[in-house]
């Protein structure tokens, strides 16, 4: 797979995908895990359908962006649509999304344990 990292060459295309919207749902972190609640249905926008296919198993927002070849902001908009339709659920990161907030030592201990067992 040697496709271009992200297809940003055509703003019109991105505009079409998002229906002209540029305000993304900021509640989706890069590592929020998305899970489909249903499969794609006929007539659905192709990007929505692809996300539902991709998220049969959990996938992070950033993985979806990479697999679809779309900027993260665009993917956030699409995910907002799917969430509103009740077609996905979002598993948000446990750590508070505030800058400089330290995660607790118990969580870090779990991370350490996981890394050592690799």
């Amino acid at each position: 797979m040697t496709r271009k990292p992200v297809d940003t060459g055509d703003p019109d295309r991105l505009y079409t995908i998002t229906g002209g919207r540029s305000r993304a749902d900021d509640s989706f972190d890069l590592v929020t895990l998305i899970v489909s609640e249903s499969g794609p249905v006929p007539g659905m926008q192709s990007e929505h359908a692809r996300i539902l296919e991709l998220c049969r198993h959990p996938a992070a927002v950033v993985e979806i962006a990479a697999e679809l070849g779309l900027p993260v902001t665009v993917v956030r908009i699409l995910l907002g649509d799917l969430l509103d339709m009740g077609r996905i659920t979002a598993r948000h990161p446990r750590a508070a999304p505030s800058v400089a907030a330290m995660p607790d030592s118990a969580l870090l201990q779990e991370v350490l344990h996981g890394l050592r067992n690799l």
């Binding site: 797979m1 990292p5 992200v6 940003t8 295309r13 540029s22 305000r23 972190d29 890069l30 590592v31 929020t32 895990l33 794609p40 192709s46 990007e47 359908a49 692809r50 296919e53 991709l54 049969r56 198993h57 959990p58 996938a59 992070a60 950033v62 993985e63 962006a65 990479a66 697999e67 679809l68 900027p71 993260v72 902001t73 665009v74 598993r91 990161p93 446990r94 750590a95 508070a96 999304p97 505030s98 800058v99 400089a100 907030a101 330290m102 995660p103 607790d104 030592s105 870090l108 201990q109 779990e110 991370v111 350490l112 344990h113 996981g114 890394l115 050592r116 690799l118």
Partner: protein
């Protein structure tokens, strides 16, 4: 553009269905220092890349279409993934150290556990800016010196001095190509974070 519905990549390795919590660690450093190599050496998937495009006045774009006046910032980054256990997944991001990237730091990497500054001793100038920005954003970090085969070998103490790095910031030698070495870098960082958390919890 044709429909893309059916072209799902078959080589994708899905996460475990029990995955609940995504975590972030960011590797920053200058061009060519080995960020992608480090990500690749520890990742369970082949590193993927994506972009964040941000229009400087993107909040509240109105129907009148004042789009033409906006400036757009695009930052590309790559990332890998490590499943830590049944529920926790660590995402490792390799990110450039240049100026426009820091403009997006809060948006992309707020809530990150911490950062690894990857240093090439032949181009240490590239690291200063990253260290300064991390301190500014109060993101805890460690410095990993990627040892290339060639060049004069500076000791960690010499490098610490050259970077004006405070004594409390851990430093570690590494070979970004080695999985074990990459693991050790991450463990050094998370150990450091754990110490900081314990110290902070003791004051509560």
């Amino acid at each position: 553009m044709g429909s893309a519905t059916s072209e799902l990549p078959s080589h994708r390795t899905p996460l475990n269905d029990t995955a609940e919590t995504g975590l972030k660690i960011v590797v920053v450093g200058g061009f060519g220092v080995g960020k992608t190599t480090l990500v690749r050496s520890v990742s369970e998937i082949r590193p993927l890349n994506t972009e964040e495009v941000m229009t400087q006045a993107s909040v509240g774009v109105d129907e009148n279409g004042a789009v033409a006046t906006k400036t757009t910032t695009t930052v590309a980054f790559d990332f890998g993934r490590i499943s830590l256990n049944d529920s926790m997944v660590l995402y490792l991001f390799g990110a450039p150290g240049q100026e426009r990237f820091w403009f997006l730091w809060d948006r992309l990497f707020s809530g990150t556990l911490g950062a690894v500054v990857l240093v090439d001793t032949r181009r240490m100038d590239d690291s200063w800016y990253a260290i300064d920005r991390l301190e500014h954003h109060r993101t805890p970090f460690v410095v990993a010196v990627n040892r290339f085969d060639d060049g004069v070998r500076h000791s960690l103490d010499e490098i610490r001095q050259a970077l004006a790095l405070p004594a409390h910031v851990p430093m570690v030698d590494c070979d970004a190509r080695s999985r074990q070495s990459g693991k050790d870098v991450l463990i050094t960082l998370v150990n450091h974070l754990h110490d900081l958390a314990i110290a902070q919890e003791a004051t509560l």
